[in-house]
């Protein structure tokens, strides 16, 4: 019988199915960070439990760690250094490989997993972090869990799960100039709602997905959680195997015919199918306080929940372009890879951010991305344009480093969440692609990146 890619990975990893229908699924990789992983490690120690196979568990300092140059264990977050020192001690105790604060391979968990070859096609991988779905871009079944589930996965190398439903989202046709994977996923969520993927594993497919490079595929899968899906996944192809080949923890070759079977069979049926015409997608910007409240850059704010209009201080009918901004942020597991930085830098080259922008940051997704960007001189482009250049980490995506934007700021951000207070109390966040952030920072107001990119072309 024809199977989906999800079915193949799920079935292969099933140890047992209970009478009630829940399955015991083996977990190939666990990745922790100091924010939620520390709690799992602490509990595990309190219960006197041990990691079953420590060589398949990894940890990184990315969430609370400071991103200012010259950082150590101290953070601006009160009590933050406790998370760092406790995580370090617990990893040593449990025998877990840790990418520490200033390890040369440190970075955001979902970025370094790919860089190190920790995630591979066909694996199951979990992390106590909702954006673990990013790693579905490799054709792995990778999803976010809570701390208790992380403890379960470490102690037993399994999780107990209800079988999710399957959905295929096809992006057919070609993306227009200046339109990116970020705009694709925001379009899906805006059209089908922030709860639209609930209960499903979403396979992204179609011509426009095949055309994306690996980094853009990670951006697409990254926001499957904002769609309320269990995860997103993309079938591995030549681009995937080329990306993973030679990574430190990847296998020596991908010659085994099993790798080629990691695709949905022709005729495999999904519980739900959605098709989107990629050629009709425009650069997207959020206007409200949920990722579903996003519109094309040349649109007007529609009528939505009163609370969202009030928090964002934007009435229905307001034109999005031209809304004045106070701050700009390029970073996060959504958009902080080298290709993101290159595209933003190409818009900022020879330009300067508007005087009204009081804080502008670029936070590379990993120290490897940072080094590569510096080799290419991108750091100088950003600094000349008025952006601060940082060490890698999650940073102001969520205010966990204890560092905030100026009070009451309206920010444009290449991140994934525009929730109330996500980037700090009272901060109003507009999420968009890195090129839209760059163009808007120059304009000092929400701006269409296509105009700026064209000037360069």
């Amino acid at each position: 019988m024809a199977q989906t890619l999800f079915d193949k990975i799920w079935n292969q990893h099933t140890v047992a199915v209970s009478d009630g229908g829940s399955a015991l699924i083996t977990i190939d990789r666990v990745f922790l960070h100091e924010r939620t992983g520390a709690a799992a490690l602490k509990r595990m120690a309190e219960m006197g439990r041990a990691v079953l196979d420590p060589a398949r568990v990894f940890a990184v300092m990315d969430h609370i760690v400071d991103t200012r140059i010259g950082r150590g264990d101290d953070t601006l977050m009160p009590g933050g250094s406790g998370f760092i020192t406790e995580t370090r001690a617990a990893c040593r105790e449990a025998g877990i490989r840790l990418f520490d604060v200033n390890d040369r391979d440190q970075g955001i968990v979902h970025i370094i997993s790919g860089e190190q070859g920790i995630v591979l096609p066909g694996l199951t991988l979990v992390a106590p972090d909702s954006h673990t779905c990013t790693q579905g871009a490799f054709g792995a079944l990778a999803w976010g869990i809570g701390s208790s589930e992380a403890e379960h996965a470490m102690v037993t190398s399994t999780l107990r799960l209800e079988r999710p439903k399957t959905m295929r989202v096809r992006f057919e046709g070609e993306l227009s100039f200046g339109v990116t994977a970020k705009d694709m996923i925001l379009t899906l969520i805006a059209q089908h709602g922030a709860g639209g993927g609930a209960g499903h594993v979403v396979e992204f497919a179609g011509e426009a997905v095949k055309a994306l490079d690996m980094e853009a595929r990670m951006t697409l899968c990254n926001m499957a959680t904002e769609f309320s899906a269990m995860t997103g996944i993309i079938a591995p192809d030549a681009k995937t195997f080329e990306y993973v080949s030679g990574r430190p923890l990847a296998p020596a070759d991908f010659d085994d015919p099993a790798w080629a079977e990691l695709v949905s069979d022709a005729g495999a049926s999904f519980d739900r199918e959605i098709t989107i015409d990629a050629s009709q997608i425009a650069p997207m910007v959020s206007w409200g306080t949920s990722p579903e409240q996003a519109i094309a850059i040349d649109g007007k704010v529609p009528g939505g929940p009163a609370r969202a209009h009030e928090y964002m201080d934007l009435p229905a009918g307001q034109t999005l372009e031209g809304i004045a901004l106070d701050a700009a942020f390029i970073g996060s597991c959504t958009n902080s890879r080298i290709s993101d930085l290159r595209r933003a830098a190409s818009i900022l080259h020879g330009q300067h951010i508007a005087p009204s922008i009081k804080k502008a940051l670029v936070v590379p997704g990993s120290l490897a991305v940072k080094r590569q960007a510096e080799t290419e001189g991108l750091d100088k482009v950003f600094e000349a344009a008025g952006f601060e250049w940082r060490m890698s980490g999650c940073s102001l995506c969520f205010y966990a480093g204890g560092e905030g934007f100026p009070e009451g700021s309206r920010t444009i951000s290449s991140t994934n969440r525009n929730f109330e207070g996500r980037q700090g109390p009272g901060i109003r966040t507009h999420i968009a692609s890195p090129e839209t952030v760059a163009a808007s920072a120059i304009a000092g107001a929400i701006a269409d990146p296509r105009a700026y990119a064209k000037e360069k072309a």
Partner: protein, 202 residues
């Protein structure tokens, strides 16, 4: 943490908003240690307090209103608990005293976190959720019914979650009983997928 209490009865506190996210349930700045305790004070901090730092209560927020201050049952809209996977959101709710959440729908990670901490997540159609606002509601988990003075509804819950909630079962202990099957699976898998099994690198 204990099994879901039976019998269970509570006034139903309505927080009828959609997409309530875990950053709002427990903001990052309220998660001050690696432990699971001391979180109730920061529960819904952006909404519960006029000024979060000064802890000045917002009288308009439902859990600050007299009939609901001791509510153990929260009613809410679609996609409750979306956003960050932080289990601290559930720990904060549990510490505050919430034992049941009835929502139009839940974000998946949050829902699993509820079950692991013996909070009962129930999904009902929106008009039925709204109908329970302010009522004294009894929940029979064995029979899977919700009832108040006016009416009674059945609800769905998967068999394993029900057993775990009813008996306060620890999922890890449950799985450890299947250790032999897991080890057999791993032994059979290792030769066919050697790349999965890494050498220790710490």
């Amino acid at each position: 943490m204990t099994a879901f209490p039976q019998p269970f009865s509570s006034i139903a506190a309505p927080l009828m908003r959609d997409n309530v996210d875990t950053d709002t349930i427990i903001p990052s700045r309220e998660m001050r240690s690696t432990g699971r305790d001391g979180l109730a004070d920061g529960l819904f901090a952006p909404w519960r307090y006029v000024e979060a730092d000064a802890r000045e209560e917002n009288p308009e927020f439902v859990l600050n209103q007299p009939p609901y201050r001791d509510a153990k049952l929260l009613l809410t809209g679609a996609n409750f608990g979306c956003g960050s996977s932080r289990e601290h959101a559930v720990w904060a709710l549990a510490e505050w005293g919430i034992r049941t959440i009835i929502a139009e729908s839940f974000a998946p990670i949050f829902r699993n976190n509820c079950v692991r901490n013996f909070i009962l997540p129930i999904t009902l159609r929106r008009p039925l959720v709204e109908d329970l606002a302010g009522a004294e509601v009894a929940i029979d988990l064995c029979d899977q019914t919700i009832s108040c003075a006016r009416t009674s509804y059945p609800f769905e819950i998967d068999a394993e979650a029900k057993q775990m909630l009813l008996h306060g079962l620890d999922a890890i202990n449950l799985t450890l009983k299947q250790s032999d099957a897991i080890h057999d699976w791993l032994a059979a898998d290792r030769p066919s997928r050697p790349w999965v099994y890494l050498e220790h690198t710490q």
